[in-house]
Every structure is written in C-alpha cells, then in structure tokens.
C-alpha cells in the first residue's frame, strides 16, 4: 500500500467513452412527430408529449388560457373522469406531470415498463380526448384563483413576475403562465375547448418515448395510441411582435413591509435558443453565476455572506428569452448586493473580461459532466423533447462538447456583448421599503415603485 500523497490533488484518469442514445424518428399518418429512444438502465419508460402551444400562445385578452386548458387535461378524458384517471395512474405506479412552458405544453407520464401500453393509451386520452367539462372548468377556476391569491404572499413569485412584466411588456412572454384573476374569471368553457381544438393537433405535437423498450415496440405503441389522431396542423403561433421592447436600466421596488429578506432579480431580454452563440453564452454564464463557483456566488455568498446563494442563467426559448440573475439577500445588504451584481456584469464586459483560466474551467465543468444528463429515461426524454421544440438536429448530443471546446475568449466576449447589455438591465427588489429605499438612495441607485397588482 502506497502512502497517500496529499501534497497535490490526484490527476484525472482517462475519460471513459460514452455513447449517446440514438434517437429514432417516425411521423405518423396524421402528422404526429414521434421520437424513440431505447434506454435500458432501469425497467422504466418515460413518455412525453410536447404540444407547440404554451403560455405565449394565450390570446391577449385571455392570459393563462394555455395553462388553464392544460390543468383540465387530467380532470377527465376518454372513458374516465378525473378520479378515474388518477386511479389508473396509481395502479400502474405512474407519475404524470403537466407543465406549461412559454412555448409549449408538456405532458409527461413515467411508468414501470410493464405498464407502458396502459400509459401510452392514457397519454393519448389526455391529449386527444379531454372532457373539458363545465363543472370541472368551474372547479379548476376556483383552485387557480386560490393559487393566484396565495402567490401574493410569495416574495420569490412576486419578484419573478415583476421582472417578467418589466422586461417583456406586452410581448407574449410578458405575462405569467397562470394569467391574472380577471382573465381566469372571464375564461369560458368555449375558450378552453377552442384553445384545445386549435393547439392540440398531431401536426403541432411531438411524442417522445424513452426507456426500457425496443424501437419497434415504441413505434407499435405510438401507432396504437395515436394512429387515429388527425386534424389540421395548427396555424402557427399567431401574430406576435418582432421583438420585446428596448429596456432601460432601472430599479423597481415591490414593497413587502417587514420582510426579513429581500428577493432580488436582475435581468433583460436576451437570446433565443437557436442563437449561434448558444455555447459561448453557456460558458460566459458559468463564469458569471451559472454554478456554485462563479464570480457572483463567490462574491455575494462566499466572501460577503449576504445570501444563501445567487445564480444567473439564460432561459433559452424560441424567441429571445430572459437572461436573469436570482438571489435572496439579507435586508441590510439589499442595495450593496444590487450594486455588486450590476458591477460584476459590467466588469465582465469591460475591465475584467473572462480569463483564459476561467474559460478552461467553465468548459471542464460544463463539458465533463455532460453525460450525467443521460442517466434516466425521463432525462433523455426531456432532452429530446427540447430538441424537437427548438428544431435541433440529432447531432446535438454528439456535437455539444466539441462545440463547447471550440469556443474562444473572443467568442465569449462577442456573444456576451451581443446578448447582454449592462446598461439595459432591470433590477427588481421585493423587500421592506422602509429599509431598502434609503439604502438604494444612499448608493445613488434611482428606483421606482412597481405598480401594485390587482387580485
């Protein structure tokens, strides 16, 4: 037994090769895009339906319609009412999840492989045959109003919503997915049925089946469950503004008297998923605040202890999505933390650009860990669903790390300069105005109060 050498950290061995899962694709007669992946790590199959109609497809006078519709899918479909659906899901040990993203509605059922036929039939019922019954609409309306009301007490939610509204304005990304109380009250059964008829169609949907089954078995399941689904392809995403408004850097205060901490958001409208700068932006963000060891977290948490943590990130969407920084800081450090965040971003663009060492570390952190995202059937299914939403080809998995490694320091600086403008960042502070406003004034940060929200 050799003695331990503790004078240096052990060098890594040779990386083990990893074969990314192969994605097969077929299009059913009705136009449904089906993607299949065999992934045999566990006796589990994950099914995802991605419907290209999310909260950005909400009509202007019905914010929240996509989410309201999605909420009703499992309240009765095909031969089963809501409890009946829940009963079957439980008996097959399945977990069902319905999410509404800005660009899509995503229904996931993960189940034990031996029950996959039942699960795919249920998924087809949810998408193709939801009842959308008036009594369920009214019940769900009540629950959504209750949730909207509870959100008024959630500082993090208030902060997210204030930033979204401030940076996107009237753009379809500018309203919260849940909508607002007036719209939830006004939404009718016909609105919901109309949204479903328009958006839930085979030509606008991708079904991903990933897990412990063969490709042939997956194709047969998809044919069986979705083969009869027909319908006109959805007519696009409707008219939408070419871009979000130009924003001016500013600080908004959302009053929360007596709050024991301040929720901070700093952000702006930035880049779409299909930007050629995607890999460079991921690396730039890793340096700024995309991981534990990042300039923001080292400064605000590790050096100053202002916060439990701070993170930054790009929410890449079909249209340019938000770049934002999230944290919650002790009240006495609110203005100091806001200034530090703005300073860190500005300096990354000017006096302290990303260094060669930081870039190398970011590449290693993001690239070496990449295979971790292919461990479970659900992870793989989600990654493939994302690729379909953004029209990314099957070469993406293989090319991700090489493209990351090809990014240069100049690429990073140029990409950040194109997509992040320090003078256009909006900061939102949800905190005790009596404490935070004098701090902001003392630091020369001019601010306005965010308008109160109705509920």
């Amino acid at each position: 037994m050799s003695r331990v050498d503790r004078t240096r950290l052990p060098a890594p061995g040779t990386p083990r090769p990893f074969t990314f899962p192969a994605v097969e694709r077929t299009v059913l007669a009705g136009g449904l895009d089906v993607r299949l992946i065999t992934h045999r790590a566990a006796p589990i199959v994950s099914l995802i339906a991605l419907v290209r109609g999310g909260s950005s497809a909400d009509p202007v006078d019905r914010p929240g319609l996509a989410a309201f519709t999605a909420d009703l899918l499992d309240d009765g479909a095909g031969a089963l009412d809501g409890p009946g659906l829940a009963d079957v899901l439980a008996r097959i040990g399945a977990e069902a999840d319905i999410e509404v993203w800005p660009d899509a509605t995503v229904v996931t059922i993960t189940t034990l492989a031996r029950h996959v036929a039942r699960a795919s039939a249920l998924l087809a019922d949810l998408l193709m045959r939801p009842r959308l019954a008036p009594a369920d609409v009214d019940r769900v309306r009540g629950l959504r109003l209750d949730r909207l009301r509870q959100m008024r007490a959630q500082a993090a939610t208030l902060a997210d919503r204030a930033l979204t509204r401030a940076i996107f304005g009237q753009h379809p990304y500018g309203h919260p997915g849940i909508g607002d109380p007036d719209a939830v009250r006004a939404t009718t059964v016909d609105d919901i049925r109309g949204f479903h008829a328009h958006s839930y169609c085979p030509g606008g949907t991708t079904v991903v089946i990933a897990g412990d089954l063969s490709i042939a078995e997956g194709v047969a399941l998809a044919e069986e469950a979705f083969g009869g689904w027909t319908g006109a392809p959805m007519n696009g995403r409707g008219p939408r503004p070419a871009s979000a408004p130009e924003s001016l850097g500013r600080v908004l205060v959302v009053p929360r008297p007596g709050a024991s901490q301040s929720e901070l958001r700093v952000g702006q409208v930035s880049a779409p998923r299909n930007t050629p700068d995607y890999h460079a932006l991921l690396l730039w963000n890793a340096v700024l605040g995309g991981q534990f060891v990042s300039r923001l977290n080292l400064n605000l948490r590790q050096a100053k202890g202002y916060t439990y943590g701070v993170r930054s990130g790009f929410d890449f969407r079909r249209d340019p999505g938000p770049f934002s920084i999230h944290t919650s800081v002790q009240t006495s450090a609110t203005a100091a933390a806001t200034s530090e965040i703005l300073r860190e971003v500005a300096e990354l663009h000017s006096t302290r650009p990303v260094t060669a060492d930081e870039l190398a570390r970011a590449k290693a952190a993001v690239g070496l860990g990449y295979p971790r995202g292919f461990e479970t059937a659900q992870q793989v299914a989600r990654a493939v669903a994302q690729m379909s939403l953004h029209d990314i080809g099957p070469e993406h998995f293989e090319e991700f790390v090489p493209r990351l490694n090809a990014v240069t320091l100049d690429d990073v600086s140029a990409a950040a300069a194109r997509h992040v403008r320090p003078d256009q960042l909006t900061a939102v502070v949800v905190g005790d105005p009596a404490e935070v406003e004098p701090q902001l004034r003392a630091r020369g940060l001019s601010y306005v109060r965010a308008e109160e929200e109705s509920a």
Partner: protein, 434 residues
C-alpha cells in the same frame, strides 16, 4: 429487488459499500455521518447543519473551497443535514473518482487545521440567510418550527428543527465546531458508499489508501428518547399568508417499523391525488380547501404524521377540521378499501424502482445504500423495506390509524394572516417561533 454491493469495514471502523453500475461514465461518492440535529445540545441548535457548511470550506491539504476542484472536474457536489444524519456527496466523471475520495478523506481526517474564525463567521451569515430565505420569508415557513416545539418536550432533541434558532447560531463559536468535529466526524461514525462506473477491487484499494490512515474516534452516543404528548394542543401562528392553513401532527413509530409503512399507506389513502379521501372531501367535492396533504415524516427515533389543509377563501378551518376528524374516524374503523390498498401499494412499490434510477446525488443508489447501512446496519435492507408495504393489510392500516391518530393526542396549528387571529381554530393559543 436488490442493490447488489460489496461491503467492507476498515480497521478504523469505516464502513465501505461499493455498487457497480456502468450505464453512464460517472461515479457517485456518498459519505454519511451519523450525526444530525438530534445530537445537538439545547442552546446550540442548528449547529450540525452549520457544521455541514464548514465541511465545504477547505481541509488541511486543500484549504481552498471544495466546490472549485470538483466542479472543474465536471462533478457535482453537495450535502444536507437532517435530524439524524449529515450526508456529503459527489457525482464525478469516473476518471475523477480518486479526486473525490482524496477530498472526502482529507476533510474526514484533516479538517480542523484549515478551519478559521473568519470562515466560521462568514458561513454563519450564509446559514442565517438560508434560514431567512426558506423559513422566515416563506409563507407558512415557520410552521415546522412551531409544530416541533409543540410535539416534543423542550429537552427532547426533536423539539427543535434542523435549521436551528438564530440566537443559538449567533452564540456558537469556532471552538464548538472543533469539539463537534472531534466528537462526531471520524471513520467509526461514518459510512462511505460508492456507486457507478467503477471497478470494485480498484475502488476498495483506493478507499483503503485514502481512508485507512484516518484515526478512529471516540464512541458516539446516539440519543434515544421516547416521544409522547400528554394532551392535545391547539395553537395559532400569525404569518404573512393569504389563506389560513390547518396543520395537524401526531407522533408515530420510527422509520422501518411496520406501522411506519402503514402510516405511509394511510397518507396515500388520505391525500395523494384525486382519488384520495381528503382531497375528495375537502377540495374536489366541497371546495372547503384550496389544497390538502398528508405525510408520514419518518425519523430514526420516532416519526411524525402530518395532515395540512389550506382553507379556500372564506371557509373556516373548523369546518375543515371536522371533515378531517370524520375521515380519520372512518379510516380507523374500516381501513382502506381493497382498491385503495392496491393503489397505495402499487405506488409505493413503483417508488422503490424510481428511487434507485440514479447512482447518487440527493437520493439515488449510493445514498440509499448508506441510509440502510446507517439506520439498520444492513446496506441491502431494501428488500425488507419493501416487504413492509406488502405486509400491510386493511386491518393493519386501520389499527395503526386508531392507535396513532385516534387513541393518542395530536397538535393542531392554525397559520393565519397577520392581524386575523380569529381565523384560527377556536381557543387556540398564539405562538411565536423564534
């Protein structure tokens, strides 16, 4: 159902468990120390968790932070503390397994030379901010604090929550940290599990090399206390919330007891999804409540069963309480129906499969192996664990509900919007957690 593994105990007392799984080129390392907030002293609550934070601040031979080296190896790293244990984990590309073992062994054997007053003080601020973010500034966030102190006597180590009291955190010192490390952080009070793309023999050799030299520590006394509640308690807490919530809690048997599984099934029957009794009675059919949940929160000494329901606007908590009482009486009388039992056990069994999909991190196989090893002494306890659910019957669930939720008193906590204490249950005593 099994997680195949090789086990070995080093001469210094460290338990080592290795499980091979080559699906992705990653290795998971999990270290459990058998110390949690129940090992704290009154007046120093929150210390086990604060100490966990210090473990990431550097060790004798790597005095810089622990995140840097592991992150740039492509690894994830984190830890957590609860009432009974503290865990630390890495998921790294398998070529960096040795790095993770180097680092875990350095902080197990050689933490204190790198621990400074300055690191301690800054990290305490971080923890105070964690508490503000997750408890004080979050709606209903202080419920758990109020419930724990009502359920347990003040000197019972479950009477405080793991995050601790701010005054206790502020009173703690770097010398407390040194003493805590010497008492609890040593091989005999730890369990090391490694899962993933690893060779078993090579891994055991690496573990021997890095951990074998660490000196054994003193025997650890694990507190054992009974949990009983002499009389029902009715409390009310004002908070920054929009809708009142009623939280009920009772003492139940410890994790891995048969009645712990029975109560898990009772929670499923009561409040898991649209088929559940309370969801139907409070939300689906009547709209008395905006939501309802039930949970058997399993701990090593004893467990707690929770039911919580948030009132729909304008609906009184007392009406909700009546429905819950009636529903519990029914369940105690006849137990779950055959359909309910079938659903609950199918769901429980599926959870066993889902829980071992990953090699590590928060959950996953390495964590599960350590949990079984630390709590039962048998890393391969998963089969016995699962059989508890197969053994449950309508009458065993009914008997457990009778014994733990009907024959014994519980705590009822109303959380109400500030200034509206009248929205709490009648006769409730106001409480104000620290």
């Amino acid at each position: 159902m099994d997680i195949a593994c090789t086990t070995h105990t080093l001469a210094n007392g460290l338990d080592v468990i290795v499980h091979e799984d080559r699906h992705i080129p990653m290795a998971a390392v999990s270290v459990w120390y058998h110390v949690g907030s129940r090992h704290e002293q009154p007046g120093r609550t929150g210390f086990a968790h604060l100490f966990e934070h210090l473990m990431f601040k550097g060790s004798a031979h790597h005095p810089a932070g622990y995140f840097e080296a592991l992150q740039e190896a492509g690894g994830l790293v984190n830890g957590s503390t609860n009432t009974d244990r503290t865990n630390y984990w890495e998921v790294v590309p398998s070529q960096s397994l040795e790095l993770a073992l180097w680092m875990e062994s350095d902080r197990m054997g050689h933490l204190l030379p790198a621990l400074s007053e300055e690191k301690f003080t800054t990290e305490r601020e971080v923890v105070l901010n964690e508490r503000r973010q997750n408890y004080e500034n979050r709606p209903y966030g202080l419920s758990s604090v109020a419930l724990a102190s009502a359920l347990f006597a003040p000197d019972h180590p479950y009477s405080w929550v793991t995050i601790g009291a701010p005054a206790d955190l502020l009173a703690s010192t770097v010398d407390d940290a040194r003493a805590f490390f010497r008492a609890f952080y040593h091989p005999g009070n730890a369990s090391l599990a490694i899962a993933g793309d690893v060779d078993v023999d090579d891994t055991l050799a690496l573990v021997e090399r890095y951990f074998g030299e660490i000196a054994p520590g003193p025997a650890v006394e694990h507190p054992r206390r009974d949990a009983t509640l002499a009389a029902p308690a009715q409390l009310v807490l004002e908070d920054r919330v929009e809708l009142p919530r009623l939280s009920l809690a009772w003492h139940t048997p410890a994790m891995f007891h048969d009645d712990d599984a029975a109560m898990d099934i009772a929670a499923d029957v009561l409040a898991n999804g649209k088929t559940s009794r309370l969801y139907r009675a409070l939300v689906y059919d009547t709209r008395l409540a905006a939501d309802v949940s039930a949970l058997q929160a399993s701990h090593e000494m004893s467990s707690v069963f929770h039911i919580a329901a948030t009132a729909a606007p304008g609906k009184p908590l007392s009406a909700i309480a009546e429905v819950i009482e009636r529903t519990l009486d029914d369940l105690a009388a006849t137990g779950p129906t055959a359909d309910e039992l079938e659903r609950a056990t199918a769901r429980a069994e599926a959870q066993f499969v889902y829980r071992v999909q990953t090699i590590g991190g928060f959950g996953g196989k390495s964590d599960q192996l350590n949990a079984y090893n630390v709590y039962t002494g048998s890393p391969r306890f998963i089969r016995d664990d699962r059989e508890r659910y197969s053994r449950a019957t309508a009458s065993s669930v009914a008997a457990a509900v009778r014994q733990w939720l009907r024959a014994a008193p519980g705590v009822a906590l109303s959380v109400v919007p500030r200034g509206q204490i009248a929205l709490g249950m009648p006769g409730a005593t106001p409480v104000r957690p620290a």
